[in-house]
């Protein structure tokens, strides 16, 4: 049983709008799983189903091998995209209340809160009211409350929105740390950049359907097209370029005569780049030679577009 969470053909209809259409996912234990998709794709609906806030019309969800039950709520930590706190309530009281709702007893909740408040350096906020804190400060409290009951599965929906870069980094490190300690993490976002550095697995949701999922490195491998980014230093760029274009499939060549720098992308018929490299090294100094791996964002756009063409 290597998956913490499995969804099988989960479908949810709101009136005339189908929010989720037969979405099946497998979320491996002890990993960071990116749930990607544009706004309105159905990510939040899926997350709400996992949190048992709403129920699917059809399909099943399995948590830790057994069908989702109310008891599982205390094993899931959820940081929603639309999040906030009671404005008039004191920080400590509020954190205690939310922790107790998750099933922690008061004593234990207090102890863990102390630990986290010290860890994120906010110990002196305990008796302040939320309305006195900045947005970023309130986000830290929410992060703590989400992870406090040490859930097996953590779901972060756009966790970095509202954080300045320094604190966003701090939270990112905390998320990685939690994963290292054994938690499984679902990370939902429409900002692809943050996916690259965090996620080992991803799923793309588009217009209520899952259009792609798997291990990020596998997906990238599948989507790479044997393109290489090459930079050469040569006094004789124009004629070399001519020769190259005859032999290989070139794209976007740029020759800077002053710096004697020739840049281009080349696409090979196979992974084998030895022939190209031999040719290049015999003609010019190679500044850089790199295989172009598509970014998550490129994969996403490409998949969505090809899907739309197919339709």
């Amino acid at each position: 049983m290597n998956n913490i969470l499995v969804t099988k053909e989960v479908t949810k209809q709101f009136g005339n709008h189908r929010a989720l259409d037969k979405v099946s996912l497998e979320i491996p234990r002890n990993s960071i799983y990116g749930l990607l998709g544009p706004n309105g794709a159905g990510k939040t609906t899926l997350i709400r189903i996992i949190n048992q806030i709403i129920h699917p019309d059809r399909g099943e969800v399995f948590f830790d091998g057994s069908p989702l039950r109310p008891e599982h709520i205390s094993m899931i930590g959820y940081l929603p995209e639309e999040r906030g706190l009671y404005k008039g309530m004191k920080v400590g009281e509020q954190a205690l209340y939310l922790a107790q709702l998750k099933g922690l007893d008061k004593r234990e909740a207090k102890r863990r809160l102390k630990y986290w408040f010290d860890r994120l350096d906010i110990g002196d906020w305990w008796s302040r009211k939320i309305q006195e804190l900045s947005k970023g400060m309130a986000q830290k409290i929410q992060f703590i409350v989400t992870v406090l009951h040490e859930p097996k599965l953590l779901i972060f929906d756009e966790p970095f929105s509202g954080f300045d870069p320094i604190n966003a980094n701090l939270i990112k490190d905390e998320i990685i740390e939690l994963r290292n300690k054994g938690a499984s993490i679902i990370f939902s976002t429409h900002r692809m950049e943050s996916v690259e550095e965090l996620c080992e697995y991803i799923a793309l949701i588009h217009q209520s359907e899952k259009i792609l999922d798997g291990k990020l490195s596998d997906i990238k491998k599948a989507y790479k097209d044997n393109s290489f980014q090459v930079g050469l230093r040569t006094p004789d760029g124009a004629s070399l370029l001519q020769e190259l274009e005859d032999k290989f499939q070139l794209a976007t060549p740029v020759y800077d005569a002053m710096a004697k720098q020739l840049d281009f992308t080349v696409r090979l018929p196979s992974e084998d780049s030895r022939e190209l490299l031999t040719f290049l090294s015999s003609r010019a100094n190679i500044n850089n030679f790199e295989e172009r791996i598509p970014s998550a964002s490129e994969i996403f756009i490409q998949t969505v577009q090809s899907k739309e063409i197919n339709e």
Partner: protein, 446 residues
């Protein structure tokens, strides 16, 4: 269950610790007692001012027709002409001057009489004077017709029918009104509580929506638990407030009366008037104090325990029904200004209950309208409470009506809470939509 308690506790504390709650709780009784004291004080002030009316009588009539009373004093001018009499009346600051000229016969005298005053006189003053003239004129006519005063007073007899219940107890006039008045107070309390605390529930739901904490919470508890906890917690805060008010109002009233030296009796003057008025009408056997004690006994005979028991039932069910509707409204909207279109239909049955209670229950507590509205679940908590002081069973509310109304109320309670919970569940996660009734109906099917 444990989570429900946590929610109730939080809602209760959030409400009770709120500054406006503390201020309102302690200010309202002060205001209320202040009003009562002010009214009593003003009434006393008004009663103390004795009106003085000057009389310049040049005729042969009326020489002993005006008798000074507690509130009105008559001052007689003699050997004075009208101008001087007016002058001295004004200088002395009297209410006015009644001038009765010298004429050949009574009718002419009456016709030419004048009342002079600085400002337009009050009708109360004029009524008093006019009735003296009328009496005098009637006596004159009777004499002309050859009827003696004694003969006349012997035919001028006021008649009141004697009343009794079938069981043979002498029934007191007005006691039904008193009983229904007590019922009305209960009904009114239920309505006020629903409107005030239903509003609190609604605002609390809106607050959770606007602060966006709602999704954090319902990922830990069921929306229904949250709604229920909120309704119960808020109502406990309300009950606390009522408790504090009752204690404080009582204490302050005692203190204020002791300080200002107002007799407790003067505050219940209204009831005294009612009692004595009824006493006047009653057969001449019981004296005034007897009547009062009879009324007192009769009031004690009202089945208070039964009343309070059913008050609790109707109060709880009514409040739960309405506050769950309020919670659903709070969930459906994004801010308080959008609530208007939904609030009115809620207030309507409550108002209807109160007015139907006042107009039809008072005139006929067991008539078809009163019965209908005391069975209809949205008005029954108010209307039934107005009917109940008359007792249950024979002569009162038939048992089948009471049971039917409670059963209907419970059924409605379950239905409404179920519907409200559905709207609530969907509504709390909807942002930026101004819902229509049609939209709400669609949510029921989600």
């Amino acid at each position: 269950m444990n989570k429900l308690l946590l929610i109730i506790k939080r809602e209760y504390l959030a409400k009770v610790r709120n500054r406006s709650f503390v201020i309102m709780t302690f200010l309202s009784p002060v205001l209320m007692v202040g009003m009562v004291v002010l009214i009593a004080y003003l009434a006393q002030l008004n009663g103390n001012g004795k009106q003085v009316i000057g009389i310049l009588n040049e005729s042969d009539y009326f020489s002993n027709a005006f008798h000074s009373t507690e509130s009105t004093m008559y001052v007689w001018f003699f050997d004075m002409d009208l101008e001087r009499a007016k002058d001295s009346t004004e200088r002395a600051g009297y209410e006015g001057l009644l001038y009765i000229p010298r004429e050949t016969d009574l009718e002419a005298v009456a016709k030419r009489s004048f009342f002079y005053s600085k400002d337009a006189p009050s009708t109360l003053v004029l009524d008093k004077l006019e009735s003296v003239f009328q009496d005098r004129l009637r006596q004159q006519r009777l004499q002309e017709m050859g009827v003696s005063t004694q003969d006349f007073s012997s035919i001028d007899h006021r008649f009141e029918i004697n009343t009794s219940t079938f069981l043979g107890e002498q029934s007191l006039k007005g006691i039904n009104e008193i009983k229904m008045g007590i019922g009305a107070v209960f009904g009114y309390l239920i309505m006020m509580f629903i409107i005030i605390y239903g509003g609190f529930v609604m605002r609390s739901v809106i607050e959770e929506k606007t602060s966006r904490i709602i999704e954090v919470i319902i990922s830990s508890v069921k929306p229904f638990q949250l709604m229920l906890g909120k309704i119960i917690g808020t109502s406990l805060a309300g009950i606390t407030q009522f408790g504090i008010w009752i204690v404080c109002a009582g204490l302050l009233l005692l203190v204020a009366m002791a300080v200002l030296g107002i007799e407790p009796a003067s505050l219940t003057a209204g009831q005294d008037v009612m009692a004595t008025a009824a006493g006047d009408l009653a057969p001449p056997i019981p004296t005034a104090t007897d009547t009062f004690s009879l009324y007192f006994q009769e009031t004690l005979k009202i089945p208070w325990l039964m009343l309070i028991f059913f008050f609790m039932i109707y109060f709880m069910l009514g409040y739960l029904i309405y506050s769950s509707i309020y919670a659903a409204i709070g969930a459906a909207v994004d801010n308080e200004t959008d609530t208007q279109q939904f609030i009115f239909p809620i207030i309507l049955p409550l108002m209807l209950g109160i007015y139907v209670g006042f107009f039809s229950v008072f005139s006929n507590p067991h008539g078809p309208i009163a019965v209908g509205f005391s069975l209809f679940p949205l008005t029954s908590p108010i209307v039934m409470m107005m009917r109940l002081p008359g007792g249950i069973g024979e002569g009162g509310v038939p048992i089948w009506q009471l049971l039917t109304s409670i059963v209907l109320l419970i059924a409605t309670f379950m239905g409404i809470v179920w519907l409200a919970a559905k709207i609530y569940r969907v509504g709390i996660l909807m942002y930026g939509k101004k819902p229509s009734y049609k939209e709400l109906f669609k949510w029921l099917k989600y």
